[in-house]
Point group: C2
Chain length 452, copies 2
């Protein structure tokens, strides 16, 4: 008899940690673990702001699946359909025809995507911060703007290039803004043409507070800290449009900005709509505290289907009636319980409930600056920044990767961090096609001529 097959849909925080733990608990005779993701690495999202700032190399802010999940089978593709009724997923590989795969257990963990609003211009101008590609693009785009501003004779272009708008004052937005403001302040030392006073970082936040994850007191501290660094905080304000870089805010202000970062929350992956699993009103998969997928009205368990993380609605047992927030903290801990529960079930046991009280958060706000509120203790400044770094190095999987990240930090500390834009990464074929005009095959040329 073949061992049961466990299919993991998505290799984010949940997928990676669950697969890693399962592969340690169940050897190959006990279970076959298949991890399906179009991207060959997990993205350690809490490090994206530091990667954008250049403190961590892009490749060190991700976890290569094949290197860390040696006992799992890795499939590079997208799951386009889950038919749990017949325990089958449809896989669309990067290239070639789609095919089906059967399973005994499924971990549905495609995670979340940027939650955007129907704002004119946003599709053209917005930069998200969910992938390593976006983080490095943000870095190069912002540093490129300094070069544009320094070289242009056009005052309007100069101003627009030096306006950096961030929408969304949660964790991702504040960390990204704070890190980029910090790196731009560093970079400006090399730009005698630019006056630091010309550079404007603008935070647009719909609610009247920032960084709710660390509580009102630390949120207010962060706001003061950023304001002291010259950041322009627009609370209770919405972005109304940004067509061609013309920013229109709900407070009546309007100006041009060449940079618009969108970090106003996330929503469950839209791929969930292509499953026959029970979804909640916001598009999450409904789960029991055991992380088993279930119909919440009938409490009927969908045997063999599991979910967790940003895409799942998991009751928060420490806050009756509430649900776990979409955060890496919950995702990682849920992954552990999820893996243990599947192992239990495979070995004939019973699953346990997930119960974790969110302990607060710690955020880096640029080099040597941070804020934290964990286990009821409030910390700010340098100690909070150290906590931020220690915490995430302890969290990122594998010793190898921890050494790489620390080495990056040491190097940046000793040699000053690099502030040069590598914009060519994002348009790699431009130079070549510029000097290589297209040539048609002789046969095609004739066909083309005949058709004309």
């Amino acid at each position: 008899m073949n061992p049961p097959r466990i299919v993991v849909v998505g290799a984010g925080h949940v997928g990676l940690y669950a697969a890693l733990r399962l592969s340690k608990k169940l050897n190959r005779n006990r279970a076959e673990i298949v991890v399906i993701d179009p991207v060959p690495h997990m993205t350690y999202q809490p490090f994206l702001p530091e990667a954008a700032a250049g403190n961590i190399s892009p490749r060190h802010a991700v976890v290569p699946l094949r290197r860390e999940l040696k006992k799992c089978r890795i499939v590079s593709g997208e799951v386009t359909k889950v038919e749990h009724a017949r325990k089958t997923v449809t896989i669309q590989p990067i290239d070639g025809p789609a095919y089906e795969m059967e399973y005994d257990h499924i971990i549905v963990a495609p995670g979340s995507v940027s939650r955007t609003l129907p704002i004119p211009g946003l599709s053209d101008r917005g930069i998200g911060l969910k992938t390593i590609g976006e983080a490095i693009y943000l870095r190069n785009h912002i540093l490129d703007r300094l070069d544009v501003a320094a070289a242009t004779p056009d005052e309007d272009v100069r101003k627009a290039s030096l306006n950096f708008v961030f929408v969304g004052g949660g964790f991702a937005g504040i960390e990204a803004l704070a890190e980029m403001q910090d790196v731009v302040a560093d970079a400006l030392k090399y730009y005698p043409e630019l006056d630091p006073k010309e550079v404007h970082f603008i935070l647009v936040e719909a609610s009247n507070r920032i960084l709710p994850e660390v509580g009102p007191e630390m949120g207010a501290y962060t706001a003061r800290q950023l304001a002291g660094r010259g950041v322009d905080l627009r609370l209770s304000t919405f972005l109304q449009s940004c067509v061609d870089g013309r920013i229109v805010l709900s407070d009546g202000d309007t100006f041009r900005a060449e940079t618009l970062v969108w970090t106003a929350g996330v929503k469950p992956s839209p791929m969930l709509a292509s499953t026959d699993l029970p979804l909640g009103p916001k598009g999450h998969v409904n789960c029991l505290p055991t992380l088993q997928v279930a119909d919440l009205e009938t409490n009927e368990v969908w045997e063999g289907a599991w979910s967790a993380g940003d895409c799942a609605q998991v009751p928060d047992l420490t806050n009756p009636g509430g649900y776990c927030s979409p955060s890496a903290q919950h995702a990682v801990r849920q992954a552990k319980v999820l893996a243990d529960n599947i192992a239990q079930v495979v070995l004939g046991g019973a699953p346990k409930d997930y119960r974790h009280k969110h302990v607060g958060g710690v955020a880096g706000l640029g080099l040597n600056k941070g804020v934290a509120h964990v286990y009821g203790i409030k910390v700010k400044g340098y100690p909070a920044w150290l906590m931020h770094r220690f915490y995430h190095v302890s969290r990122i999987p594998s010793f190898n990767r921890k050494v790489r990240v620390v080495a990056d930090w040491v190097l940046a500390f000793m040699l000053k961090r690099e502030t040069v834009a590598l914009g060519q990464l994002h348009r790699p074929r431009e130079d070549f096609t510029e000097v290589t005009p297209p040539v048609e095959l002789p046969g095609e040329e004739k066909v083309g001529a005949g058709a004309r």
Copy 2:
């Protein structure tokens, strides 16, 4: 009186080294040095193959202009016209209107671009290796192909993904092929689905030898070395077409390949045609051995105009009747003489001739493998590889950068090099636009509706 202005067009090997040396020789009261380049860094091209292999971080294979040329004025833009008759350049900044700048001396050093041929499909499929963007794209593209091959159920896609074609057996091509073959061999350890025998690296070279820079004996050694590693060498062979990845060779062979690297030589930058300087038949700027631009028929010197490197035709005084080959070796040494000559002229002296006998070359062929032929001494294997690394670390400007490169090597040695693809770097906005449909401004919507 203002000090004379020296405009440097292009910050490649010639531009960077000449500007660096000039700014040390002439302080701000003696000369104003303006360096114009659309890219904010010099690309240390000899490191591109190692950057593609992942032994060096992308940002460490380049030299940030503003960090290394602190005494120069950096202008991020393209020189679209040189009118030496009135000593004026036209600068097109990255954004904003073009403008003119006058000069007293000009160093014309836009370097070279890929020399491509009118081959059907080349514009669509070819990957050059002149920029850091191309090097990292090549890396991610090749590693991505392993993921494609491992996941696809389509045999044809699998085969095409595992065929890697390199056209051009000179320095750049051989180093790139050897490094990528080496890194793929490393990566395959993580791909139990792929048999190393399925992977084909194919070198297409029009002449009957490879690596002419190290002489026939060492070239033959390199060919044997590569053949021993399974590389398929096609000498005296041309690429005839590569439409949609269907490779057609002049030896009659035809097959599909998803990777086509084009390193078949370089030609002078086409921007030279927008100057009023005297150009040779191949598009080079004609120079005297003093690196002064000159009309070669009349020997008339174009006072104040200088050139060197890949874009210049400089008589090789060690080989009467010949010209210096386009190589980093000549470029760097010419830059030194060029800077000294300008400093001499500015201070009232006379320029000296450039005279350097090409000393041969040293090439890395993957980790711990190399070949060298310098000053008549032939070296191969590990010692040659060490020479390659020592030589280039000694050459790359600034102590800071040397430390970074060595740190990268040490890290890759201790922790094994990373072989994961970061393809998202090259399509950074895809995820965001996928979840953000375009929305028109209310006004525009009406116009659109009316027009329909």
